[in-house]
């Protein structure tokens, strides 16, 4: 029974890794590639570490496997955000069929800070005046 669940977790995790790698190769765009590899890759590695924890059933091994999963879940979104942000600032082109680019023209190229367009502030100001 333990071996069955271990093999199941290993094969399913490896299958998610293949899905992530397929997305990395087939997706046309840096943000889409990030979207594919971050989620599916972390899920695959996490499932394989769950397989390790199930197979040994030992307190120390389980704790370390949970620590690995926790580090993956903590670090992967931060790393993906940093890479996506850096790629946008460097000027990596988006997919040619992209409909909208909400960030276009809304960041300061010198200080690298975002700013809302002026029309987004007006309803709040009117709200304050009416009170």
């Amino acid at each position: 029974m333990t071996e069955f669940f271990t093999g199941l977790f290993l094969v399913v995790g490896a299958a998610f890794m293949v899905v992530a790698a397929l997305g990395l190769v087939r997706m046309p765009d840096l943000p889409m590639r990030l979207h594919a590899t971050t989620k599916a890759g972390v899920l695959g590695a996490g499932l394989m570490m769950v397989g390790v924890a199930v197979y040994f059933g030992d307190g120390g091994v389980t704790t370390r496997a949970v620590a690995v999963i926790g580090f993956l879940l903590l670090t992967a979104p931060v790393a993906a955000h940093a890479i996506g942000r850096a790629g946008y600032f460097v000027g990596v082109p988006l997919w040619e069929h992209s409909k909208t680019d909400e960030l276009k023209g809304r960041y300061d190229e010198k200080t690298h800070t975002l700013s809302s367009p002026p029309e987004m502030h007006e309803p709040e100001d009117q709200d304050d005046a009416s009170r």
């Binding site: 490896a14 397929l22 394989m48 370390r64 496997a65 082109p93």
Partner: protein, 91 residues
Amino acid sequence: MFDIAIIAANVLLSIALLLGFWRLYLGPTLPDRVVALELIASLTIGFIAVYVISSGRTPFIDVAMVLALTAFLAAVGFARYLEKGGHRDDD
């Protein structure tokens, strides 16, 4: 049956590693290659998991933990380098 599962996991991870290296070779820009490197680090964690199960050497889990943190530091370092010092394509 269990041996088949381990072999299948190894084969699937190898396919994924080949695809990851293909994107690392193609990658039109540096951020694409950084994404490929991050996926390859996750794949190495998977290989370590399979090896720990097939050989029974549990201390290798610590290697997986250190590898996860090192891959995060490498990705953040690349991102900082790109944002502070990298050249813009539209300049």
